[in-house]
């Protein structure tokens, strides 16, 4: 007895087909949903940082008039015009004079409305034009954190009311916070700046690239072009591949044990940070370099050898220049990873409070991601927007590096 052929038009079969197609559609929708969730999360993260951080680039300023002859400040403009202006101002009690002027202007408690570092603006003003100390002068002074938050509509009601009153009398303005881009760490959220950490990052990256790039490229050349196939070469390859996967904090422990405790290099210095990150970045450069060198076709080598070049000449005159764009792309990606790295730098002490930008690679410094970490630990309300603003700076820096890598790849990459 033979089996009857399947009746595809039967109700049972068409129901089954429908459910299979529905499952197909659900599966596809699930895949799309997974992508949407992942990218949506990225968008949410960026949006959170932008909405928190953009206000960190702005500051609220208060107009403060100081009547110098009647204030407690005793400075002679003639002295200021001489060479010792800095010294004369160091002795003068500008901070107190500004505080009392603020009390007079905004009523009792007025001194608390202006930023702790606000008097520095007055000092700059006097240095720029010493003549103002003989009369009455007006300054725009950054407001304190509490007033700044009230101006952004989130503070306590009393300060908020005060803000509206001052705003109506034209004593408040909002300006771009230039000192955020030019200053360093401070205890007061309204006075902090990112330049110190940015410079620390630059110096650290300089040390990293100066060490990791030559060593990485040379070992890539050796492994790809000259190394004999033996046990030693295998050990080198295995250790490079493993180093690329070692957690970054382990490199921090290495830096602490070797560079600080054994070699006694200075703590918190970009030199040690750069050395540690160089060890971390080098495997990335080696792996990218080997792939780039491997992509150069053998005919180039054969042609060079055929006209009498030595093997070293072949590699350094022909193969390496052709592989360079690929190597550079890999290097930039490795450097971008090093730039965002925090944990190993915490291990070697780059988490100190540093109020001046570092002058050299042995000065105490901090770097952008560590600065973000330090500010995120602050309790003061004003640091929330500063942390997010620092993150925006960090992400912008990273994005610029990645854009450069993509540009290099598109412009110079050759398909053979």
């Amino acid at each position: 007895m033979s089996k009857a052929p399947t009746d595809w038009r039967s109700n049972a079969m068409s129901r089954r087909l429908r459910s299979r197609y529905a499952r197909e559609k659900r599966f596809k929708a699930l895949g799309l949903a997974a992508i949407a969730v992942s990218i949506g999360f990225l968008a949410f993260l960026l949006w959170t940082m932008a909405s928190n951080g953009l206000s960190g680039f702005m500051e609220t300023q208060l107009k403060l008039a100081i009547d110098f002859p009647r204030s407690s400040l005793m400075i002679d403009p003639a002295v200021l015009r001489g060479g010792n202006a800095e010294q004369a101002l160091a002795g003068a009690e500008i901070e107190g004079a500004v505080a009392s002027a603020a009390e007079a202007e905004f009523g009792p408690g007025g001194a608390r409305l202006i930023s702790d570092a606000g008097w520095l603006r007055v000092r700059e003003g006097i240095l720029k034009n010493p003549d103002i100390v003989s009369g009455r002068a007006e300054f725009w002074i950054p407001a304190s954190g509490a007033f700044d938050i009230a101006a952004k509509g989130e503070g306590d009601p009393a300060t908020g009311a005060l803000y509206r009153r001052l705003d109506q009398s034209g004593q408040v303005r909002h300006g771009f916070n230039w000192s955020f881009l030019s200053g360093s760490d401070a205890t007061d959220a309204t006075a902090v700046g990112i330049w110190g950490a940015f410079k620390g990052s630059l110096l650290t990256m300089l040390v990293t690239i100066a060490l990791a790039f030559p060593v990485g490229v040379l070992s890539a050349v050796y492994l790809e072009e000259f190394a004999p196939r033996n046990r030693w070469t295998e050990i080198i390859e295995v250790s490079i591949n493993n180093l690329a996967a070692v957690p970054s904090i382990i490199f921090g422990l290495l830096g602490l044990a070797v560079f600080l405790n054994f070699m006694h290099l200075p703590r918190s210095a970009p030199l040690v940070g750069g050395l540690t990150l160089a060890l971390m970045t080098m495997p990335v450069i080696v792996i990218a370099g080997r792939n780039a060198i491997k992509a150069v076709p053998p005919s180039i080598r054969d042609a060079a050898l055929g006209v009498g070049a030595s093997r070293v000449q072949t590699v350094f005159h022909h193969v390496l220049p052709l592989a360079l764009p690929g190597i550079l792309t890999g290097t930039i990606i490795g450097m971008a990873r090093a730039l965002g790295e925090t944990a190993p730098l915490l291990m070697i002490g780059m988490r100190a409070f540093i109020a001046t930008p570092p002058g050299g690679i042995t000065d105490p410094a901090t770097v952008l991601p560590v600065q973000v970490f330090l500010w995120s630990d602050e309790v003061s309300r004003g640091f929330v927007e500063k942390t997010s603003a620092a993150i925006i700076v960090l992400l912008a820096f990273l994005m610029a590096m990645n854009a450069l890598a993509i540009y290099l790849r598109n412009k110079f990459e050759r398909r053979w």
């Binding site: 992508i35 190394a227 957690p247 080098m282 080696v286 030595s310 965002g340 970490f373």
Partner: protein
């Protein structure tokens, strides 16, 4: 004389040597027919002389930098003021250090008056040895350059010699990777051995109590803190291998399937890099996001469900970490799905299977080793991740399976142990290295296993 200036001077000697040697070799070449032809082009003669001039001098300079402080101290100790130095080693070292700092201009005056009197001896000795070093280095540079220069002949195998040095340089560069690995292993092992001399390895690996803070009282050996690391291992696995993977595996795998099997090539061109941006965001940014935005949300959910929640929860840290890991899972899955032979896919479709049936019953099983390898790599990455857990997971070593509670991880504890007030040699500081060793070994094993799995799979299809 500053080391930088000296370095530039030595390099200058080398440059002069390069020019002179190249010119001299060129005169041989230009001497006309009948003469012997040059073995190497003039530039290699230049490099030959330059390297002879620069390398010995630089090696000497480095050695001198290391030896100089000891020589200066030795000379200063022979000065009359040194006779009054205190006998006991600690005071003696303190006075010497002060005198050295005064001589170098780091500090204005010393705490101990003796150091002020010793300072001139230090200063003059330092100056004497610095000049001596500079003169010796320059002499060495000249001597090396001259030695090589007089050996320039047409038949000199300058290129071979220079290239031999280049090969040596290449070899040394590639040995740095081994040195780094060895450095990691030895520094972790050395400190861990010292730690295990105080705390037994069995207690460390099986103990349930982690409270290193009380270990500061060194005299109370019996009650000096507890170093049972099981709560940390559990926290690490709970956050990195369970919560993060519950987020990352479905999202990463489904993203990879959609991108390779369904997405239009143009959409793929844009979506894949966008997904990879997730891996490029610095971890400190994720940590801040987890602590500031995600943790309060998680806490609210937990309280809404009536579960005791802490403001730092395993769920917030693990969830954000899972998002960070998505690109690792998806790119490995992407690669292994793409490596499945097209014929298998075509065969399944030709039998009438829908695309989703083909994926679930043919492609994923065929690509499974690659996917599992990718997941193992992602786990190794997740348990080594530091900043997210430091900022969002907290420091309480709880042994709990409640995702709304605060747990701590190995990496968070390493940071905690090494960034407070630390005294070297205390069990507390050394414990960080022991934890580091465990972390290193586990990530290494995970990587080796993952690579094995992936390799085995490749052999099956190629």
């Amino acid at each position: 004389m500053s080391p930088l200036l000296l370095f530039l001077l030595v390099a200058g000697v080398g440059a002069v040597g390069w020019l002179a040697a190249r010119a001299r070799a060129a005169t041989f070449a230009a001497a006309g027919p009948g003469k012997v032809r040059l073995h190497s082009v003039p530039t290699y003669h230049g490099w030959y002389v330059a390297l002879w001039a620069v390398l010995p001098a630089l090696i000497f300079l480095v050695a001198w930098q290391v030896a100089e402080p000891a020589l200066v101290a030795g000379a200063a100790l022979h000065s009359p003021a040194a006779a009054e130095l205190p006998a006991d080693a600690m005071n003696r070292a303190a006075v010497l250090q002060e005198a050295r700092d005064i001589a170098a201009g780091h500090i204005q005056g010393g705490f101990n008056p003796l150091s002020t009197r010793l300072a001139p001896a230090f200063a003059s000795a330092a100056q004497r040895y610095s000049i001596m070093g500079a003169v010796l280095a320059l002499l060495l540079a000249f001597a090396g350059g001259a030695y090589a220069f007089v050996r320039i002949r047409p038949e000199l195998r300058a290129r071979t010699r220079v290239e031999r040095l280049v090969m040596l340089l290449l070899l040394v560069a590639s040995l740095i990777a081994i040195l780094t690995t060895a450095g990691i292993v030895f520094s972790l092992l050395a400190e861990s051995v010292r730690f295990f001399a105080r705390v037994s390895p069995i207690e460390f690996l099986t103990g349930l109590q982690w409270s290193p803070q009380t270990a500061m009282r060194a005299d109370q050996a019996g009650s000096s803190g507890a170093f049972g690391a099981i709560p940390l291992f559990w926290g690490t696995i709970f956050i990195g291998a369970i919560i993060a993977m519950i987020v990352a595996i479905p999202l990463g795998l489904m993203s990879a399937i959609y991108l390779t099997q369904y997405a239009h090539p143009t959409a793929r061109k844009w979506l894949k890099p966008a997904l990879e941006v997730l891996a490029g965001v610095p971890t400190v940014v994720y940590g801040y996001f987890a602590a500031l935005t995600v943790a309060p949300m998680v806490r609210q959910w937990g309280e809404a469900m009536g579960i005791a929640s802490s403001s730092e929860s395993a769920l917030a840290a693990g969830g954000v970490m899972g998002i960070m890991i998505i690109p690792f899972v998806s790119s490995m899955a992407d690669d292994s799905l793409a490596a499945v032979p097209q014929s298998m896919r075509d065969g399944s479709l030709a039998l009438g299977a829908t695309t989703s049936e083909t994926i679930a019953k043919v492609l994923v099983p065929a690509a499974l080793p690659g996917i599992v390898g990718g997941i193992l790599l992602a786990v190794s990455r997740a348990i080594g991740e530091t900043m997210i857990v430091v900022m969002a997971a907290g420091l309480a070593a709880n042994l709990t399976a409640n995702p709304f509670a605060s747990v701590t991880t190995v990496t968070a504890q390493i940071v905690q142990l090494l960034t407070g007030d630390q005294e070297f040699d205390s069990a507390k500081t050394l414990a960080a290295f022991a934890l580091g060793l465990v972390l290193f070994v586990i990530t290494l094993l995970l990587n080796i296993v993952a690579l094995r799995v992936v390799k085995k799979y490749r052999e099956a299809y190629e």
